[in-house]
């Protein structure tokens, strides 16, 4: 609790400095949040090149409207709101509803080129790594087949660790709707991955 408040306090100080035209402070904001924002966007749009462009666009928009940022919202929530709106616009423009067959163009292919790194869940057991990678691929496919509304909340909640309240303010729906969307998203993913999950538990 205290740690979270301290993060918010540091964010507030960084924003105040950035609002006073301090570029170093804005750089620090980017360094703090770029991975989280990119991780979220890359699972929303799937193509790593598009994801990187949209992440850049998120921070450019944040930079341009840093003066309109109000301390009532957290910086985390604000950035994810910008990112979510950009993803929605992007999918409207390109009609990029990713299908399972389009996996050849996804980030997993880029994994081999080194532009993507596995930070978590790295085990020394080769068998487990194999299962994990295969599961990860299936998870990505299952996520891409979820309706956009469900995908947004499940990514924000389970992957980015945002609270129900924060998600509610980002996607602009009541708290109850967020809860039911998370439940539905998990249920659909569980069904889609049932054959793979049986080996896990």
């Amino acid at each position: 609790m205290w740690a979270m408040e301290n993060v918010m306090h540091t964010d507030t100080l960084l924003i105040q400095r950035a609002q006073a035209n301090d570029r170093t402070a804005f750089n620090e904001i980017v360094l703090r949040y770029k991975s989280k924002v990119y991780n979220y966007i890359s699972r929303m749009v799937r193509s790593s090149a598009d994801a990187e462009d949209l992440t850049q666009e998120t921070f450019v928009r944040a930079y341009l409207s840093i003066h309109s940022f109000q301390s009532r919202a957290s910086l985390n929530t604000w950035l994810f709101r910008i990112a979510t709106n950009l993803c929605i616009d992007f999918s409207r423009k390109t009609k990029a509803h990713i299908q399972a067959s389009s996996l050849s163009q996804t980030c997993y292919e880029d994994d081999d080129t080194g532009s993507q790194r596995d930070i978590l869940d790295v085990s020394y057991d080769p068998q487990r790594v194999l299962i994990s990678k295969e599961l990860g691929r299936e998870l990505d496919t299952a996520l891409s087949q979820l309706p956009e509304k469900l995908r947004t909340v499940i990514l924000l909640y389970d992957m980015e660790g945002l609270s129900y309240e924060e998600i509610s303010s980002i996607v602009n729906v009541p708290l109850g709707t967020v809860k039911s969307r998370i439940f539905n998203a998990r249920a659909q993913l569980r069904e889609a991955l049932a054959p793979y999950l049986k080996g896990v538990y």
Partner: protein, 186 residues
């Protein structure tokens, strides 16, 4: 009246609806007991619960992705171009609002300090007020003003008396006449 199988199905759907929040530890103690009691006797729901748990674990342990190495450089290039138009001055009202919001945030963060300072402040104000002498219950008019007013009243009363004794006398003319007499006498 519900049959046993209908009742079980209703109960199972109610429990399944709670599984997501159950694994997030967001249920009340009573709900947790209800879920666990049901899971102890219902294999289907237990299976669903394990599936949900594995699903959540998978989502939480999915590898984090990061941007490419030249991300910051490319971003700087874009920001450099934008910089001249990027920093409009904030209106005074917005700045004041921001200042108040940051003050509220600081008070939230340093809640304990703020409460302590407020209590000490209230205590000091109380002590100061108790040390003040009680206010006097007169007409509310300061004494100096009354004296001044009586001092001013005297010449007016004198004038009234003079005017009553000799209604046609002119004080200025009288003084001039006295002055002339004194001059000729010299």
């Amino acid at each position: 009246m519900l049959s046993l199988s209908q009742k079980t199905n209703t109960e199972c759907s109610a429990i399944c609806a709670l599984l997501s929040e159950y694994h997030d530890n967001l249920l009340s103690a009573r709900q947790i007991i209800e879920v666990e009691k049901h899971l102890a006797v219902c294999l289907e729901c237990l299976e669903a619960s394990r599936g949900m748990e594995a699903m959540i674990h998978l989502l939480h342990s999915t590898p984090q992705r990061d941007t490419s190495d030249d991300f910051m450089m490319r971003l700087h290039d874009r920001l450099d171009v934008l910089e001249p138009a990027a920093m409009p001055a904030l209106p005074l009202r917005a700045r004041f609002r921001e200042w108040v919001m940051s003050l509220i945030l600081a008070l939230r963060i340093y809640r304990l300090h703020a409460v302590s300072f407020s209590l000490v402040g209230v205590f000091l104000i109380g002590v100061f007020l108790l040390k003040q002498p009680p206010a006097s219950h007169n007409t509310g008019e300061p004494e100096g003003q009354i004296e001044a007013r009586s001092g001013l009243a005297m010449p007016l009363e004198q004038n009234v008396v003079n005017a009553t004794e000799d209604p046609f006398s002119d004080p200025v003319a009288n003084r001039l006449a006295v002055h002339a007499l004194l001059s000729t006498g010299r």
